[in-house]
């Protein structure tokens, strides 16, 4: 899935998989913090695959 999406041009770093048990709350926080920090570092212009409102012209 990750390979495939990145193959089609989704910027690496935007799709993450982690295995976190419901008991691992600190791991969850750490992972989410790490991911959000990393994603914030990416160029917002590269936000792809987001459906936008169609233009009425």
């Amino acid at each position: 899935m990750k390979n495939f999406l990145e193959h089609t041009g989704i910027e690496p770093g935007r799709l993450h998989f982690s295995w976190i048990s419901s008991a691992e709350s600190t791991k969850f926080v750490d992972v989410v913090t790490k991911i959000t920090d990393e994603v914030k570092m990416l160029d917002p212009a590269n936000k792809k695959y987001v459906k936008t409102e169609p233009k009425v012209d």
Binding site: K51, T52, E53, P54, V56
Partner: protein
């Protein structure tokens, strides 16, 4: 016949002039095939294109078309009130429409412009458009326009017909709309009188280049239910994969689906082409589907074009013989063959066969 001669130079300048008054569309080769597109400045329609892969119907009737916009913001006064989208803002001209595709517009008009209801989007786009046709000097092997209500020099549905004789082009105005297009393009050179017989020659030779045909004379006389129950539908449908190709490439297929889409606090109601080949087209909310089997859907398409339409309007078939569905069907379902079966179907002899075997 008032014919205007256009040499290569004035053709080019005329098209450019027209672009200042119209949004001009024409066939352009992209990748491997021709399609109609809005011409950029200095971009010329390719008059050597035999025909485009898709029909020009999408210019009048886009595959996806927004009908209404609305707000879903409860704090706004017009929340949930539909606002009509103006779909036509300026005149359009389509250059290089082949006569088969041109005839499709008056056929489709019967559906969109009825005494009771007028589809404002279609009608506005249609009325804003000048159809500048291009006569066919050579037909394709899959063309059968001459038995589908028109011909390679057919004029119905056109405002101007352009005839090419080698590098020389001749324009024949058909309607006032067409005359004003010619005026805008600045084409004024009267053709010499002798050209008329030359054009007759071209026309005769073009007509004889149409080698395939469909018989339609008996369709009207058939009983709907007998044709509907004919045994050939299942056989003919065997190869059908129920994709929407035939309907989407067809210049006379008009069915659509209405969908709402929302983006945050705003929304649109749009229509998208739909296809009688898709099971979802007729599926009831209860799960019941009146056309559940693939042969029922295939039958619907051909019965619509070649029987229901024939009976409803008493004015030919809902097919213009462009041959696109034949060329593009992934599994080679051929409307000529099916039309032939329908036209020659004899319910009585069929019953005999069934009982004797």
């Amino acid at each position: 016949m008032k014919l205007i001669k256009i040499d290569q130079q004035s053709w080019n300048t005329g098209i450019e002039k027209a672009k200042s008054a119209y949004r001009v569309f024409g066939p352009v080769k992209e990748k491997n095939d021709h399609e109609f597109k809005l011409l950029e400045p200095n971009e010329m329609p390719d008059v050597h294109c035999q025909n485009t892969r898709l029909s020009p119907k999408s210019i009048i009737y886009p595959q996806s078309q927004i009908m209404f916009t609305y707000s879903l913001d409860e704090s706004k006064e017009d929340c949930r009130i539909m606002k009509e989208v103006e779909n036509v803002k300026s005149p359009m001209a389509i250059i290089g429409v082949r006569p088969c595709d041109a005839l499709a517009f008056p056929i489709v008009r019967k559906n969109f412009d009825t005494p009771e209801y007028q589809d404002t989007y279609w009608i506005k786009a249609y009325e804003a458009t000048t159809f500048v046709g291009l006569a066919c000097n050579n037909a394709c092997g899959t063309c059968f326009c001459t038995s589908a209500g028109t011909g390679p020099f057919g004029e119905e549905g056109l405002d101007v017909l352009i005839i090419a004789d080698g590098d020389d082009l001749y324009a024949k105005p058909i309607t006032p709309k067409g005359e004003s297009f010619i005026q805008t393009a600045g084409w004024t050179m009267k053709a010499e009188a002798s050209i008329e017989s030359r054009i007759e020659e071209l026309k005769t030779s073009a007509e004889s280049s149409v080698t395939s045909s469909v018989p339609t004379d008996q369709l009207k006389n058939k009983t709907t239910l007998e044709l509907y129950d004919a045994p050939f539908w299942e056989q003919e449908a065997f190869s059908c994969i129920n994709c929407g190709t035939c309907t989407y490439v067809c210049p006379t297929c008009w069915c659509f689906d209405v969908q709402d889409e929302t983006h945050g606090k705003s929304g649109i109601r749009m229509r998208n082409w739909d296809s009688c080949m898709f099971p979802l087209f007729t599926n009831h909310a209860s799960g019941h589907n009146p056309r559940n089997a693939k042969h029922e859907r295939l039958r619907q398409r051909f019965m619509h074009k070649l029987k229901y339409y024939v009976d409803k309007y008493d004015n030919g078939i809902q097919c213009v013989g462009c041959g696109r569905c034949i060329r593009l069907c992934p599994v080679n379902i051929d409307i000529r063959k099916i039309c032939d079966k329908m036209n020659n179907f004899d319910a009585d002899s069929c019953v005999c066969e069934a009982t004797s075997s």
